[in-house]
């Protein structure tokens, strides 16, 4: 975080917060493909934590959920148009 009070970007800094923690979700369901897709890019890759602002705990859960969904062909390992 920027400590200098006169820094020009001070007020533009957006504090990211984990969406799962904020909603108080305890378990991320692999069946909820729509939600999972919001955390993957168009190639079907899982977005990093620095982009989404997920907490470490939920990022781990998200990863397992996405991988389960991939196994059951609910989500692609590699997106169709790139194969």
């Amino acid at each position: 975080m920027i400590k200098n009070p006169s820094h020009p970007k001070k007020n533009q800094r957006k504090v990211k917060q984990c969406k799962f923690s904020r909603a108080g979700l305890e378990y991320i369901d692999y069946k909820d493909v729509e939600t999972l897709q919001r955390f993957t890019n168009d190639q079907g890759k899982i977005l990093p934590r620095r982009v989404t602002g997920n907490s470490a705990k939920h990022q781990r859960q998200l990863t397992t959920a996405v991988k389960r969904a991939r196994f059951l062909a609910l989500m692609p390992y590699v997106a169709e148009n790139l194969r």
Partner: protein, 129 residues
């Protein structure tokens, strides 16, 4: 013998005729019951498009179910399903305390929507880039 709560999803070969799906579902349910399981809910999602081809097939008949069973039953059930050519994929999940609590919420339809809060926040946030 301790019993656990399981979630079980499997995909049936789509090439079968319609009445064969029911047969397959019944077969799996019976198999679980025979191994000492108690089925709580069977949810047939029906034919769904795959995200990628499995065994050169583009669709599959998804079945999702919940049951309680002794731990030993799972190995038996899975062994039978691996032999079965009509089952393309299966996934068994043992539920822990967190997942059980989530399931209770699901039953009551009270799962918090993680994107619902986001919109309010964005309105209040004047410092968007």
């Amino acid at each position: 013998m301790s019993k656990n709560y399981y979630e079980f999803t499997y995909i049936i070969n789509p090439v079968l005729e319609d009445d064969k799906f029911k047969e397959s579902v019944d077969k799996v349910s019976k198999l679980i019951e025979k191994n000492g399981g108690e089925i709580e809910e069977v949810d047939e999602w029906g034919l769904r498009q795959f995200a990628y081809d499995i065994d050169k097939k583009g669709t599959g008949y998804y079945v999702n179910m919940y049951f309680t069973a002794p731990a030993e039953a799972i190995a038996n059930v899975e062994r039978q399903l691996r032999i079965d050519d009509d089952i393309l994929r299966y996934l068994t999940l043992k539920y822990d305390a967190k997942m059980l609590r989530h399931r209770e919420l699901q039953k009551k339809n009270e799962v918090p929507d993680i994107f619902a809060i986001e919109d309010d926040e964005d309105d209040n946030n004047e410092d968007d880039d």
